[in-house]
Amino acid sequence: MNKPEPNRSGPVDGWTAKYPELGTDPISIQANIDPNYFEQEREKIWKRSWLNVGREEDLPNPGDYVVRDVEILQTSVIIVRGEDDVIRAFHNVCQHRGNRVVIDRSGNAKGFKCGFHGWTYGLDGELGYVPDEDQFFNLDKCKSGLRPIATELWRGFIFINTNPKQNLKNYLGEIGEQLDPFQFEDYQWVVQFSVDVKCNWKIFVDAFQEAYHVCELHRGSAYEPFAGKDNPFAHATHMQLWELHRMLSVPGNPEFVPSPSCLKAIQYGGNAVYTPAEGGSDSAASPPGTNPGKHPNWSFDIDVIFPNLQLLFGAGWYLCYNYWPISVDRTRWTARYYVPPPRTVAERIMHENTEAQVRDVVREDLFTLENTQVILNSGAITHMPLSDQELLVRHQYHVVEKLVRGE
């Protein structure tokens, strides 16, 4: 019998063999259900990592601010653009008696006044005015500003860190260098999907860092754009792991025939999310910073910047996912779809085609999460066997475990 050779886009021995320190054993699911482990993650990962809280264009003008309740940091955070155009973050806590200073979710302000006794802070966090100040004893206003949180930018992404051990550039390392050429400034978000799901944050990330599930979960909705005769299981065309971060490239099916609405979208504006891969054209469709494997049948990249930022890059679009753990079995997630700002009404209509497809397909992904968490909590399985195509899933548990152990 001549069994056709499966198309392996990657190394002959598979991707996992390139990273022998990860092993090939099944992975314990304990990290997804143990509340004590979650507390360790809070202290050793989330309170020491650079966390993405938005992009600089979210705060276009001096005085623009947003307030984020960040449960995993056990605080509320003000992120504000100062009069000097510098973006800063502060704990949203009055240095007088601990009241929450800013109640609004977002806005534009000259400063922040606590609604309890009227202590007033500048956009730079400095304490400017204390009503009836003479009644205090040795109050040093210079030392009583809003408590800052380290804030740095990379390619327009705002990151905060409550206890940084290294600067953001070093933290990102090679994945930052690899993505640096991508023209983020040419894109703007058009739609955001947000959900609050009863599952562990790692299960959530896992759902979006392998393409193995495409052939089953998305069989009816999003299989043919990625998997075809030459690559029926949508094997990744590239994978890379770093100390903390990771990425893979999802293949495109050169024989995919877009639907009538998708063809209209392409006619009106060029690239839609399921535009067929440009087979054999030397990856002409992949933007700078993407498709590092230079595979001709490239569809999109998945880059995971540990622990809370995931970026998906296609030709003419990118998606930004943010993960915010609330408890061991609850996570808030936002997904923003970014495109070059439409220049015409026709391009606006084109984007609507992709947005609807992304929204529908993502709901298939989301469906697995809570069911998985419930079953894991039951103890009915203790370990999960992972394939070579799920290397990024394996890597995440490896990284988390190392950090929790303090290595």
Binding site: V191, V197, A265, I349, R359
Partner: protein
Amino acid sequence: MSELPQQFQDLERYIAAGWAKPTKMERWHKRLSCEMPEIQEFYDTMLERLDDVVGHVNQHPLDAVPDNEQPLLNLALSFMDIAPAVEIFGAPDVTGCSYDHRRMTVVENGVDELVW
């Protein structure tokens, strides 16, 4: 009656039926509230007429679509929103297993209040 240009009077009935909602969330929920025959009929007509509709509204700058033609643009946007129902699922909503749509919030940049 809305005030669609003369050549699009045949599409008035879709506006009356609620297919020209102004926001993404409303267009999505309209799709979810309908039965397949109605969606299919809207799809078939719009696929036929889409090049005319887009060609017409595309004469205007993106930020200057006249008020009386906004419903026409919204019909085209609704077509894109319902397309997966016809082309993929054969049902108004995602078939089989999918996350409860009532638990997903859709925010349109510059239109809706941002949620965290």
